[in-house]
Symmetry: C2
Subunit: 358 residues, 2 copies
């Protein structure tokens, strides 16, 4: 039996990926020009599927980049001149902040210890902030910010553009896109695709700000919002994109729509609940995130007591169950379990049964 | 019979691609962490194959990006503060220049009309130039610069770093990498892979210049040469890369090495010769590039007399032969024929036989 990957990205492929890939090879999709009508039709179909899946407001546009990492940089270049504010509570939210500093922005931060989330009461976004960055799901620590809290930030702080990194939360996170201005993800997490594509969802308000900065500073060249949007209006991209991933994303999104996003969300929560319940009762494991409201349903981090985490990982791997190691300094003491849509309830059950007797 | 793609990128897939892709799916390569030993081993294997194929000097490093477009930008950010010089004779060499201007560099240019190449005698690179950019093969116009001329520029102008865009010339172009400082390509051209990966070959001299600019200006964030090299030393990448393309590239490079790069070069020249000989004798077609030494062996551009080019393209397409349209303003009057290693001598023969009676 092939191993099951519970790794937080690259992750288990969505079950329909191999079939879609074969169809695309048979149809020679990857030899077609990215300037052809066939590619425009594909982009349009991806656009329609993603709009339906995320219930995007009309004014949103969808751009493709090489990675989510690139979107940290491009969003800062196109949307900010000076003042940014970052909610940082892990390695990936920290990298968004790093990028702002590298670009010379006056980046302010509210930082919480690894494993902790934010309470609304402690967040104070300074007047004059151009961009507020939020990591909806910290892949490193397993902390999420409930979407209700993200929506509340808009009414508390209506001035800044709100950027949501939902790299390891999409498509589970039921974000109300009318309450934020942009969001982004990469496809090797919740969508279960091979890595190499970032997806950037951008509203009209962002485009208006981007237009005012155009000509005032370097906004990202071919990957500025202005350039991306100019191409997007013909369902084109500034340079040759990862057509393979766009093709697979289009089809997997349609598969998810056929299944129903509500079903996917319910299954995600049920699977997460099963794992967290086990971690709480286990003597060997414990949930790393203390605050229940901040425990991610999509990337679950467990502390391993008494044994080195590597031993647990090897033990599970021998049974065909591949979990992720803890991030960075937490490698020795934690494991990470991705609970993406590609992983079934039966597979989560197998994992919990295998963890029980360790 | 499946159509043959003579399009200049995305192009015909290399014949072994489908098999390698199936093997990778079977081995779940695309679910493996990009921080795993398995990925490091893959990167190292790609590195070894590319070194052998290009006969790279020891001091070169090999980095992966999302596209060749990105390398235009990143090379300018990491290697230049002020003065760049660009040889421009088509749309892609022009885009490298555009990027330098967007980044605020004092970019000087020697520009030739579309369809013409450069003679060494007319090139004068100003003193103080930090980076000289050369497009070895202009995908838009079908003009190449003979590698001997590129090598000669180094002795004529030893001061600037020399950057060679070999996007549609690799691996055919027998560039002597000791005579330049960096080169790059994307994989959807001569390597016959799905689009979505740029490959950047960078020598020690570039890294030394990059080190002096680090801290002085924005050098590209995660995609600065310093950051890429830091990761490269452990065969890692700054962010999750297109593992699928890296896997396919590794295996196709090994296939090419097994066949022999000399054989590939000889076949490329024989196929190009066959097409150009036909274009010269044809009443309907003519080679667009007048100067024989500047006629690209990898992207062949033909002028179409008397008929709209679209009619020729349709006629050939009906026979399962897909050629590219002319670039931009030349769409109505030209066709482009990619002569990459994925296209066999038999297929080129079929194309010429089909063009003959039009």
């Amino acid at each position: 039996m092939a191993p099951v990957y519970f790794t937080p990205g690259p992750a288990q492929l969505y079950p329909t990926v191999a079939g879609h890939l074969q169809t695309a090879l048979d149809k020679q999709v990857f030899s077609q020009s990215h300037r052809s009508q066939a590619f425009k039709d594909l982009y349009q179909r991806a656009d329609e599927g993603l709009r339906a899946l995320f219930q995007l407001p009309q004014d949103y546009a969808i751009y493709f980049t090489g990675s989510a990492t690139e979107i940290w940089e491009r969003s800062l270049q196109s949307l900010t001149a000076q003042h940014t504010f970052h909610l940082v509570n892990g390695s990936f939210s920290k990298k968004y902040l790093d990028h702002a500093k590298w670009l010379g922005r006056q980046a302010q931060v509210l930082q919480k210890p690894f494993g902790q989330g934010f309470s609304l009461a402690e967040i104070q976004v300074p007047t004059g902030t151009e961009l507020l960055t939020i990591t909806q799901n910290e892949t490193s620590s397993g902390v999420c910010m409930p979407v209700g809290d993200i929506h509340a930030l808009r009414s508390l702080f209506p001035e800044p553009l709100v950027s949501v990194d939902m790299v390891s939360g999409a498509p589970y996170a039921a974000l109300d896109f009318s309450q934020v201005d942009m969001a982004f993800f990469s496809v090797q997490k919740g969508f279960g695709l091979p890595a190499g594509l970032g997806v950037w969802l951008v509203n009209e308000r962002c485009r208006e700000v981007a237009a005012t900065l155009e000509g005032q500073q370097y906004t990202g060249g071919h990957y500025s919002i202005a350039s991306l949007h100019d191409q997007y209006q013909q369902f084109q991209t500034p340079c040759t994109p990862n057509v393979l991933d766009i093709y697979l994303l289009t089809h997997v999104v349609e598969d998810m729509l056929a299944k129903g996003i509500d079903t996917i969300r319910q299954e995600t929560e049920a699977k997460a609940q099963q794992v967290y319940a086990f971690l709480e009762e286990s003597a060997l494991f414990a949930p790393f995130v203390q605050e229940k409201a901040h425990r991610s349903p999509t990337v679950l981090v467990a502390e391993v007591m008494e044994k080195p985490a590597a031993e647990v990982i090897s033990h599970l791997k021998a049974q065909g169950l591949v979990v992720g190691s803890g991030y960075g300094a937490f490698k020795e003491k934690q494991i990470r379990i991705a609970n993406f849509p590609a992983v079934t309830e039966q597979e989560i059950d197998r994992l919990v049964q295998a963890m029980r007797p360790i």
